[in-house]
């Protein structure tokens, strides 16, 4: 056993890392761009929250690394790490003006300095409170680490909840208002909103209530888990959920789905529609990548083909922008054709790549996607499909004489499509085709030896995937009423692939979760538009490093990715026994 000394080196290392993170956040612009965005009204802006959270996090990490569960070490480590971190930031603040850093780093601006020094004049007067806050939050982080694990988890959940709700305060207060409006009780909503929300962000009282509530809830759930675990250990029979409750859950979720557009209002409904379109595509790609193991990076091609087919068939302005004539088909007549064309292209593009696997397949499909986008954009095809000007005047779907125009109305169509896709992929997964896909994913040669026709199986996967994507494209075209080649870039493919991976590859609920996390959240955080892709990239890397199986992994994937670890665990007792 090593002597229990205070590990100064680690403290410096982590403090330095913290400082680097702070510098990064400042220079990238996350700190200076959210001054007016309050998490807690008039108390903490989002900008300042970034600084506080970083120092808190690195205080926590320092304590974890160096405290050895000794309170003195924890306090020392927390304070030192916070001080080192903030020192880096102070150096930046002091050097910005003399070195004219803004000439290179656009965000090393007077605005940044103003944020960091609380707008004090001269700015050096603000450095002391900045240091104070950073050290205190770092110390708090270290202290939180020293709490017993259950309480620690609850406190962290509380902090996360306050910040998350505070960031989304505006939207959430709208949702609450809509719910009460639906129930016909305006007065109660006003009162409730006043407690929790201020003009911008959470009110102080709201933040406190949410913090305490979250702590209570997470403590309660931890306590329940313990009880359940104890029961299971004592061998009590597993309690089966009664049938009535199951039915009630179904009815409630159906009601929620039906009422959602009214609760959410038009802005959130718009987001839900986008999420549902991506979910639809996600189900399709999940078949190709998740079930059949064919890595497709050009999935947007089929989305584009579906959308363009829908546009060409239903647009009422074909004669004006292109040489083709109006066919005047309705949405419903054009839909099967769009899907059919997408399937056809799925097969056409699938045949040449039948022999490829892994990275090469990914790159070839990426090439296909890019070729289709560049062609759609070019003057070459402009007489046919409109080039960069796109196609306008696409018909809206009509249901029983009602035209679905707004996203609150389209919502039902899109959700129905997504549910259909979910049902189809669920049934296909457990069918003969699904089992062949999975056999092929695990090992092509063995699958073939078992009598699976690889060509048919692969083409079926490509065709099904293309069908879902074409379906999504057709709805997308109808939703927007006009399409442009710019909508069909590589990012769509990447997004869809990422969402099924973040959700858990091969898992159906994972697709929905992934779509909400990767498409819904960025849409919600519109003010972050500049930083969306930054956060997206970081999230993708972080996810792969720490939770590669996704949020809701399919059983097989979980096994594969943890094979290595579980082998070790299994091997361990054996070696001990020896």
């Amino acid at each position: 056993m090593k002597a229990q000394t205070f590990d100064v080196k680690s403290v410096f290392k982590l403090g330095g890392l913290g400082g680097f993170t702070l510098l990064y956040l400042s220079l990238v612009g996350l700190v200076s761009n959210f001054v007016t965005r309050d998490v807690i009204s008039k108390t903490m802006s989002l900008s300042f929250a970034f600084v506080i959270i970083t120092t808190f996090l690195f205080g926590y990490l320092t304590a974890r690394r160096t405290s050895r569960r000794n309170w003195f070490y924890a306090v020392g480590g927390g304070v030192m790490s916070g001080a080192i971190g903030i020192a880096c930031l102070i150096i930046l603040v002091l050097l910005t003006a003399p070195l004219n850093l803004q000439a290179v780093f656009v965000n090393a601006s007077p605005a940044l300095i103003k944020v960091l020094t609380f707008g004090k004049e001269p700015f050096t007067a603000g450095l002391l409170p900045l240091t104070g806050w950073a050290v205190v939050s770092s110390l708090t982080g270290a202290m939180v680490y020293m709490l017993p694990p259950n309480i620690r988890r609850a406190v962290i959940a509380g902090v996360v909840a306050v910040i998350a709700i505070g960031t989304l305060a505006q939207l959430l207060s709208d949702v609450v208002e809509n719910i009460f409006a639906l129930l016909g009780n305006k007065r109660a909503s006003g009162a409730l909103l006043k407690i929790f929300f201020a003009k911008k962000g959470l009110s102080v009282s709201g933040a406190a209530i949410i913090f305490v509530l979250t702590i209570l809830v997470s403590a309660f759930s931890a306590w329940r888990k313990q009880i359940v675990a104890a029961k299971e250990q004592s061998g009590a029979a597993q309690t089966q959920t009664p049938k009535e409750i199951k039915i009630a859950v179904w009815i409630v979720s159906l009601l929620v789905i039906l009422l959602l557009p009214n609760i959410f209002g038009s802005y959130l409904s718009e987001i839900v529609v986008t999420v549902a379109i991506y979910t639809l595509m996600g189900f399709g790609l999940n078949i190709v990548v998740g079930f059949a193991g064919l890595l497709d990076l050009g999935y947007v091609a089929f989305f584009a083909i579906g959308a363009y087919t829908m546009a060409l068939l239903t647009s009422n302005q074909m004669g004006q922008t292109t040489e083709l004539v109006n066919t005047g088909l309705s949405f419903w007549a054009a839909l099967p054709i769009s899907i059919g064309v997408a399937v056809l292209w799925g097969i056409i593009l699938g045949v040449p790549v039948l022999r490829m696997r892994g990275d090469y397949l990914a790159i070839v499909t990426l090439g296909f996607g890019e070729i289709i986008r560049v062609l759609a954009l070019s003057n070459f095809l402009q007489p046919k499909i409109g080039g960069a000007q796109g196609i306008l005047g696409i018909a809206k779907p009509v249901v029983f004489g009602y035209e679905l125009v707004s996203s609150q109305q389209l919502y039902y169509l899109v959700v129905a499509a997504a549910l259909l896709a979910a049902y189809v992929s669920w049934r296909m997964r457990d069918s003969r085709a699904g089992r062949s896909w999975m056999a092929m994913r695990e090992d092509e040669d063995v699958a073939e030896a078992m009598g699976i026709n690889l060509i048919k199986t692969k083409l079926l996967a490509f065709a099904t995937g293309a069908a879902f994507s074409g379906f999504a494209g057709a709805i997308f075209a109808a939703k927007l009423g006009s399409i442009y080649p710019a909508s069909f870039n590589l990012l769509v493919s990447i997004n869809v692939l990422s969402l099924i991976i973040v959700g858990g590859i091969g898992s159906l609920p994972g697709v929905v979760i992934g779509a909400v996390a990767l498409v819904g959240l960025p849409e919600l955080l519109r003010e972050f538009s500049e930083f969306r892709m930054l956060i997206f990239g970081a999230l993708l890397v972080g996810m792969m490093l720490f939770k590669p199986e996704g949020f809701w992994p399919a059983a097989a994937q979980k096994r594969e990715l943890h094979e290595f670890e579980s082998e070790e665990v299994e091997a361990h007792p054996a070696s001990e026994a020896a």
Binding site: V364, V374, I501, V541, L561
Partner: protein
């Protein structure tokens, strides 16, 4: 992979059909393009005789829409741009050779160097240092670019790739895609989203006579620099001890480890070498195309990957040949056979040519022009 014979023939015949169609299109387009100068009513024989016997070969009638000078300029521009592709392609090839992984973020490594070095170049240009001492100034700019790219690549390897070395192949690929976006938008945050224009270098304006052919000085410098760097790299990998270690790790990591090679260190060096080449390519790109911005890495990245595949991924001379080949094809191709096919504004489709080549090479000859087939073994 063995396939059912009956199905095999169907797929095979389809693949052959694709080959034939592509070849016919390219040939037909080229011929139609080159002979578009045929005068109305003139027979093929007459046209051929006129063009081969005429004293002014290379006039507009015999070379399609463009004069021989224009074709030569296309070709030379293609060489210069191909040199840049080749330098970037080296990074893909080196990393793939060692880790069997497509470093999707390599285009961003290239961008980071070019974008950072711009600020040095601009300040040198403002202070007049660039014109007083151009060689030294450009050397410093290039060094800054190479160092920046190297730092970015080493950090990338350390943070994003190393923990995933034993993960299933999809995982590092997704990580690389994520890292690519992260880097793009980090540099957008740092330096802003505007396009920056590399300053003109006084001694590089105008043309030099090379073997009696006037060539833009920047193109000469870019091509020569690219060749020098590639030759240097080739000797580094073939002759030095580190290079030998690199090849050993590429051959078999476990055995290399048994031979006392520090595999982690070699992998870092591999990333660093590839990144340094990409950084150098960044400055050359700045000189040739002038504009840099935060998304500049994507398209050259994909094209360089194409070049690497074209030459046989994992194969260093292959990447060089592939890069030059792709650069020339892309520069000459649109005017040669797309315009011959009657495509309007054919230059818009030069990316299509690059991607189509990528697709065709991967489908029909995944081993590339001069590589051995790795795809069966690892892909």
């Amino acid at each position: 992979m063995r396939l059912n014979l009956k199905n095999l023939s169907i797929v095979d015949s389809l693949l052959w059909l694709i080959r034939v169609v592509v070849i016919v299109l390219v040939l037909w387009g080229s011929i139609a393009g080159l002979t578009s100068g045929r005068v109305d009513g003139e027979g093929w024989g007459q046209f051929f005789v006129r063009c081969t016997t005429s004293t002014d070969v290379g006039t507009i009638q015999c070379m399609g829409k463009y004069s021989a000078e224009t074709w030569r300029d296309f070709f030379i521009f293609g060489l210069a741009q191909g040199g840049i592709y080749a330098l970037i392609a080296l990074g893909y090839t080196l990393v793939y050779g060692v880790l069997f992984m497509i470093n999707f973020a390599h285009g961003e490594v290239f961008m980071s160097g070019a974008f950072t070095a711009y600020f040095v170049a601009a300040s040198f240009s403002d202070s007049g240092f660039m014109d007083q001492n151009p060689v030294l100034a450009l050397g410093v700019v290039m060094l800054v670019s190479m160092v920046t790219s190297t730092i970015v690549a080493v950090l990338l390897e350390r943070i994003a790739y190393r923990p995933l070395r034993r993960a299933p192949r999809l995982v590092p690929l997704i990580t690389a895609i994520g890292a690519s976006y992260f880097l793009q938008y980090t540099f957008r945050g740092l330096y802003g989203s505007g396009k920056k224009v590399y300053p003109d270098v006084a001694i590089l304006t105008g043309k030099w006579m090379v073997f009696g052919i006037p060539i833009l000085k920047t193109q000469v410098v870019v091509f020569v620099a690219a060749v020098i760097l590639m030759v240097g790299l080739y000797y580094f990998v073939q002759k030095t001890k580190t290079g030998k270690a690199m090849r050993a790790v590429a051959e078999d990591k476990d055995v290399a480890m048994l031979m006392g090679i520090d595999v982690d260190r070699v992998i870092v060096i591999t990333f660093a070498t590839g990144a340094a080449m990409a950084g150098a390519a960044g400055v050359l790109y700045g000189l040739l195309f002038k504009q840099v911005d935060f998304i500049m890495g994507f398209i050259p990245g994909i094209k360089a990957f194409t070049a690497a595949v074209l030459g046989g991924i994992g194969n260093i001379p292959g990447a060089m040949v592939g890069g030059l080949f792709l650069g020339i094809f892309e520069s000459v191709g649109p005017s040669l056979f797309l315009e011959g096919l009657g495509v309007p504004a054919a230059y818009q489709l030069k990316d299509v040519i690059a991607f189509t080549m990528l697709v065709l090479v991967l489908i029909f000859r995944p081993s590339g022009i001069m590589g051995q087939n790795l795809s069966d073994k690892k892909a």
